[in-house]
Symmetry: D2
Subunit: 356 residues, 4 copies
């Protein structure tokens, strides 16, 4: 069987590193280009010593060059900041290369919303209509046909999977939704900054960017699509002293009386159907009274959900847990690539978490 | 100046240890009894080696004996589980000894609510009316006159200080309030259990007890008192991989249009007045757009508040941070004792946090 | 291809959990029995919820029964305490079942040394001669032929791989060796204990068991075998506030003048030869002036070595890093099983670490 | 009583922050100048929000100006990098202001050794003879008379206190000493760098700078002074995923037969005498078979020692624990200032650690 050649732009950040981990063991994809402007010319294992001894170790890092990537790769992962990704994606798509963009550049369908939240005019708004939103359980068929996939943000991934079954069933009010999210520090990236030094994060906890985080419009767009009505929600992130993991506690108000068992069954049915259609089962709904933990999903595509039906306050509260680097970024990117290339959706993705 | 003799029942748990830390440096109180059923007979520093070399090191731990405590102490701190504390408190009060009870036994004014949430009939319901709720900013005068103080729970302390100014000003709706709280693991106590082993908590994050945590009725009672109307709220705790610290993110809906600056001024005015009346200033309201961190209050009585007025969702969101062992338990207990004994409210309490 | 049925005794401890992680993805082995006295009768995913959705999830845990294991398994992993393992191993070997024993019961060739350090008479000393010491780089051929493999301790694994090339080349004195080792807390097991609670380990560091840790005689036996002379060494362990990982700093005195480059070349040559013979390359020697980190090997069989030739003190200092649960226990056990069963040595073992 | 005005150059690094914590509660010193080139003009609490509400909060940070400092301060703490500190110290000393220099600039008596290890010619070598080495237990009287105190490095502090009694008693060989040290990450300072990001340190452990750390000549100088002979030792540091704390495991060879009890008594006697002379008792020697932990000393001046006399290897192994920011830097600086100013040695220093 011929292995499919793929490229990765941005190899030294955390999402690039995570893609390397997965591609070091993918049965049908071969990483043939790994780029980094600052580290070009070095063997990969000089820059990422944990990859010594793997099949990627001897690769020479190159500078990002769209012609070169297009000449050698069937698909390219963009693990670079928003604003930079959009031009690269446009160039690659023009050269008929499939692209999975891990940045935010193609997630928002309305360029005005993008300009508003990202303080940046979109330079390739024409491509927005072509971009599939890469959440496999919700957009599997679109992803499979897409040339350009906008890989979802980590927070939206956790929140959308928490809400989708309830919204589809019109079980909850669409206004007044709150997502109180907590993320591991890998989500803040690998750039040196005082605020993410070990001694500033360790043994502490804080909120940040309340009410104005850029994942807010992405959630509102997709929650609105699920609810078939425009939605405003309150999204508030916090920074956890852990490496990987996002836990979102999502608060809604019930539209009708329902028991915990009914909701549980509805959630499990919803995701069983999606898993059957998709060919991969990644959402696990916890038994009543038990709650997911970020470590339960470490290094995998699992999204674990815990459900509270609270008759005292008439609320449905859903706790949703993912690994922000794997399900919330690089693993989901790989799953999308698998779908785009006609491979098994779970190819190259670890079936069991690293626990403890 | 004569130092006031005090006792501590339950010296080897985390709240007992924290009281020792503070009492090792109190200018006007002397710990004359420290009890532990399991460690009686040993010098304190054999059991708590970090206290070697302090003025408490040579104390011999005794078994808890109410007669002995009453004979030697003007005030006793009870750092024992609920259910156990109520009998000890009753015996001590009968012997005219002042008591600060760190357990939940005297926090709820309605014994039926206590029985309902704690699965236990209250055996000293007659004392409930005498017990002051030991949140100094709200109940300073009552505490100063009390023989028995019910020291608040850590979560309620953080939530009530977040809400008090807004409720007093009728700025927010009293229904639909959500407290999404995150606690360090010292809050789970020092008893061996698989669920609180290092390897089960470290590098992970989880929710627990959603919708049924016992601090819920305590919050509802006190929020109701502030709002002058019965209140139901949704309280949902999570476990942080840190030692000390509680952060509560409290969600409310605004009753009227108000600017962030107005709310900030209102909060600062409220707590400046309370500080003036109390003689101690422990609530710090952060400048707009900045957020408190649990490490900012480590080892102190500070409660730091961050405020979001979100016009998009018409919400007031308050982030509240305390040290659960100091402000949320032993430090607050000491402050209450200071008030009860006519001392400076802040005597023996560290003015600056241990940061980093 | 027929998958080989294997069993696991002791599924709920950390080494049992790690074996499950690996066996959930092994291409040629199938876990057909997973036992736990306390959890028998439950589906595996009820007890280990992170394994829900994997191919092991629906297995029913059974009570350990040697007849049943022998009837269904070609090989059994024993992940139970020393003292318990020896009887199980003897029963299984008698029934012609291959055994990888993760306990210490068959590591020491001299039953008197075992009795001395473990305070226990060996009840199956007759089996000691048959047991292979399961360090693949040193004992590959013996392991492949063995019915019973004594899986090495985590500390000895890290120390022996640090020393083997230098000892073989008679580059260092055999007396005066010091191993200063630091282990993650998974090494302390999963039993509830105050000393391994999160709040007792987190943000702290300590030594323990200096001079009398039970891995000492195991190191001395194997260092002595490499040096062809009896050896006494000083082994001193410490407890790290991390989950997985052992780092040993090993101090020796040089017997002759040698450059850093020569030692580096010697180490790389030694392990290249061993890798070629074994069919798996798991020891990585760092470039001069760079040092391994425990995270570089997380979840893998890698042992990373960093080398200092210090002319000021005439010492060779070797820093050795492994994942104590994977290379130091369950991964090595699986590698040994692969060798015993004639499979690829690296089958089922992740090629790349989870980093960050 | 008049409070003594002091200044602090370098307020925003970790040692500056720690000095602020202590000075916020010092009974006889008042911080009148706090400088930072980058933050000059701002109120202290804007830059260090955890100090809001303390008596330092409203101070305006100034740019460092030696004339201004000399005009207002009796003593100045220099918490700036080596190379920068030496010129400031010289200017202040010339103006008759006492100086405690937390950098390495005046620790090494031989300017050639300084030039060699720090790659820098000393510009004020004439001051070296005047500088006292600020380890109070060893140099109390010199410190009390000094105008310039070189505050010791954190690693040397831990190692010297571990060795002093044994060296004085000629109990151990002076060659072949090894110090295997492990430091919390505050020791790496507060400058942004990839290597000290949370995600690069957390859940991992590594060695660094083996054989060439700049604290080596400082240890050799002072060990040599204690041993009255030139000494070479092997010093090897490691980076711990904790905030504060240094633990050094110090390996020596015994010169004669001695029991553990004898060594313990010798160590306790040595430090009891030093404490009596000094007026402060900060070294605690653990009972046999128990080991110190970094958390036992958190936030204090304590140095905890654990002692192993190992007849198997004829070694004395001493485990030494300090808080690198308090005893290893700012607390020791304050103690030295107390001595220089004729105050109680322990004034302003917390008597009990923050534990847990």
């Amino acid at each position: 069987m011929k292995s499919i050649p793929v490229g990765l732009v941005g190899v030294v950040g955390y999402t690039g590193m995570e893609l390397c981990r997965l591609l070091a063991d993918h049965p049908e994809m071969t990483l043939v280009r790994a780029t980094s402007r600052s580290e070009a010319g070095k063997p990969l294992a000089d820059v990422l010593p944990h990859l010594a001894g793997t099949r990627l170790a001897e690769m020479t890092i190159t500078a990002p060059d769209m012609d070169d990537l297009a000449a050698h790769c069937e698909l390219v992962f963009l693990a670079v900041p928003h604003g930079t990704a959009m031009d690269m994606a446009a160039e690659l798509v023009r050269r008929k290369v499939r692209v999975v963009d891990l940045s935010a550049d193609f997630r928002l369908r309305d360029p005005a919303v993008y300009a508003d939240w990202y303080n940046l005019e979109h330079r390739h708004a024409d491509l927005l209509a072509q971009a599939a939103y890469g959440l496999p359980e919700l957009y599997g068929p679109e992803i499979a046909k897409a040339v350009l996939v906008a890989n979802p943000g980590c927070y939206p991934t956790s929140v959308l999977l928490a809400l989708a079954p309830a919204l589809e069933a019109e079980l909850v009010e669409t206004d007044g939704i709150i997502a109180d999210s907590k993320s591991g520090t890998t989500g803040a990236g690998r750039k040196p900054a005082t605020t993410t030094l070990f001694c500033e994060v360790h043994d502490s906890f804080r909120a940040y960017g309340l009410g104005r985080h850029r994942h807010t419009p992405e959630m509102e767009q997709e929650v609105g699509a699920l609810a078939r009505t425009p939605v405003r929600l309150s999204f508030n992130p916090h920074l956890l002293p852990i490496g990987r993991g996002v836990l979102s506690t999502v608060y809604t108000r019930l539209t009708k009386f329902v028991t915990a068992d009914e909701v549980l069954a509805m959630y499990r049915r919803f995701y069983a159907q999606r898993a059957a259609a998709l060919g991969a089962s990644w959402v696990r709904v916890h038994p009543p009274g038990t709650w997911p933990e970020t470590r339960f999903v470490r290094g995998t595509m699992f999204c674990d959900l815990g459900i509270l039906v609270d008759p005292r306050t008439n609320r449905l509260v859903v706790v949703s847990v993912i690994d922000n680097l794997c399900r919330g970024a690089s693993g989901q990117a790989l799953a999308n690539a698998n779908l785009m290339l006609g491979l098994e959706p779970a190819a190259g993705l670890p079936p069991a978490p690293l626990m403890p």
